[in-house]
Symmetry: C2
Subunit: 358 residues, 2 copies
């Protein structure tokens, strides 16, 4: 039997609950395809800060690197919100992304037919939305140097960051995005602010150049302000979107909210080689942590992405996706997606129902 | 009679049509309050590029500076899209903002009761939305230095920009925003990315400090990715939003699309002293230019903001706002806001109806 090692990073808030449930589903789906999964649980985020004084202990990064794929719950919470930068849970997340070199973040925003009414958008606008945002994850203003605090020529204190992209960084994320678009609807929209920013001008130039390697994919360009509008006006016009780190942060969250089911959406972060990082796009939701109220489906679907993009076991991924659909068809809903006439369940029970459907 | 000089910058695409109509409304509203307006029309954007080879001729900036307020139509078009940066219409816009020092951009996003069904959001979500986005307009990554193209230590070409804010820049925009919030619902939400960016950390620190001068305003903070979501999830939670230049560009466009009536929304850009710049938030819409199809109401309402924020003639501003409401109540609609049962009119006719209602 094939055997893989998985690093589990439960993290903070609802993270441990959703990861525990998703792990069982992952194991069950794997074993049905003859894949054995071994787990190692490590500390990250606030949990690591409390236990080890840093948001990403060296052992955690080392274990993650040595494994075949990583499943992350969520990180952060009020408790650490006012920490200095190097002691923020978020810094642990940024450091593991950089440490693993997972430069391509895939964030699907799909409106499931069972949940179309959960969207705040009108049914006819939301129905059938199926967008994949490919966000550059290890470059741009998140990591650019110089950064910090200084003094300007008037003697005033300043805070500053650098948005910077190299040709190599743009080319590699563009290629991932074209590959993704090719396997989906064949349409790629590159989002930038090339009418103002030099970093975006180079972005647009390189994405346009890489397009010649993918003659079967239709490329368009859109300014980020317009993209933020078009996602609200007519999200169905989009198939695959590729954009930089900060624009991707904003637009992928906007797109996911448009689906109305943010508790349902997974993400995959992958690099050139080495293990990928898989996590729900929702946060740690400290307000409902430990109450068995969290929706584990985003993490379960992240486990499916782990099987597909991380381990290449598409058949097992498909099993999970089908089981989730069936569970929804059977009427089971956590609080965040509940509507009258469906069956309200907690986090654990939702996991059990998915296991049954498997 | 009080007398003021107004610089008109019709610009490109539908700009000339909507400015011509708005000018007549502006004059009529002014004269009813004993205010005489004199106009000087100047070149800007693509029109200036074609006629004078630069997007903002020196005479235009000088005339604008010497006047009491500026009314701008729209700039840009496919024709100049591939121009080098210093020859882009957009560069003219950025230069006039900087040249006038109009650091505070006020962008209302209001859902008018007559147009609530134009929103793609469900009626119960859109109804009653009334947000004012206060965007910092002359700093941040739009203007920060260093910027340009270079080579990194691997010898690869790069494009880069600098996001930078000084204490003075943050303090003055924060004060404007608190003043605005005080006159509205008394709630200010400051949007940043302080969990990642140093420029945002300083932003949050200073906005928090300035809050002590406005004990009657309730301040909250939100990360930009969350704000992009919350605008879709529940826009009614927002009263006044203050944010930096690039986040303001994105979020104000998103907010305006949520109202469903982007052809209706005005904006005001004001500085410490000197003339303000007033413009619709929509673009130059080259596809419908010259066809008498454009919606002039955003420019007409920008003229109202000009009277209120630019000249301090609130009574005349109010007249325009009431006339616009009445015109909508009378059922007149341009194509962009048309719905069955209303009367479809062109740009000029819409202007005439507003004049009648005045
Ligand atoms: C927590 C934060 C640093 C992170 C980001 O901005 O990348 C999050 O918003 C995300 O999108 O994964
Ligand atoms: C045209 C462009 C430079 C401008 C901006 O980004 O500021 C526009 O989008 C706006 O919001 O007024």
């Amino acid at each position: 039997a094939r055997s893989y090692s998985i690093t589990l990073l439960p993290g903070d808030g609802i993270g441990p609950e959703v990861v525990a449930v998703a792990k069982d589903v992952l194991s069950a789906a794997g074993s049905k395809e003859g894949v054995e999964l071994r787990y190692k649980e490590m500390l990250m985020g606030g949990a690591a800060l409390d236990a080890a004084g840093v948001p990403l202990p060296d052992e955690t990064l080392a274990a993650a690197r040595a494994s075949d794929a990583i499943l992350l719950g969520a990180i952060g919470g009020y408790k650490w919100d006012n920490n200095e930068k190097h002691l923020k849970p978020e810094t642990g997340l940024l450091n593991i992304r950089a440490g693993l070199g997972v430069f391509a973040n895939l964030r699907p925003a799909t409106v499931l037919p069972q949940l179309v009414d959960a969207s705040t958008l009108k049914r006819e606008v939301a129905e059938g939305v199926d967008i994949m945002v490919v966000r550059e994850l290890t470059g741009g203003i998140y990591f650019g140097k110089p950064r910090g605090f200084g003094t300007n020529d008037k003697g005033e204190e300043t805070g500053f960051n650098t948005e910077i992209y190299s040709v190599a960084e743009i080319d590699r994320i563009a290629r991932v995005a074209f590959e993704v678009a090719r396997k989906r609807g064949g349409k790629l929209c590159s989002v930038d602010k090339a009418n103002v920013l030099e970093a975006s001008m180079l972005w647009r130039k390189r994405v346009t150049a890489i397009a010649s390697e993918f003659p079967d994919v239709e490329l368009s360009h859109m300014y980020v302000d317009n993209a933020a509008m078009q996602l609200v006006r007519n999200p169905k016009q989009f198939d695959t979107i590729v954009t930089n780190n900060i624009f991707g942060d904003i637009l992928s969250d906007e797109a996911s909210m448009i689906t109305g089911s943010i508790g349902m959406l997974p993400s995959a972060s992958v690099g050139e080689s080495g293990p990928g990082l898989f996590e729900p796009i929702h946060g740690s939701a400290p307000d409902i942590a430990g109450q068995d109220k969290a929706n584990p489906l985003a993490t379960i679907l992240s486990a499916a992405m782990l099987l597909k993009y991380g381990l290449g076991v598409e058949s097992a991924a498909k099993r999970i996706e089908v089981a989730v659909t069936e569970t929804l068809d059977n009427g089971f809903r956590t609080g965040d997606i509940y509507s009258p006439g469906t069956t309200l369940v907690g986090c654990k029970r939702m996991g059990e129902e998915v296991l049954k459907a498997l």
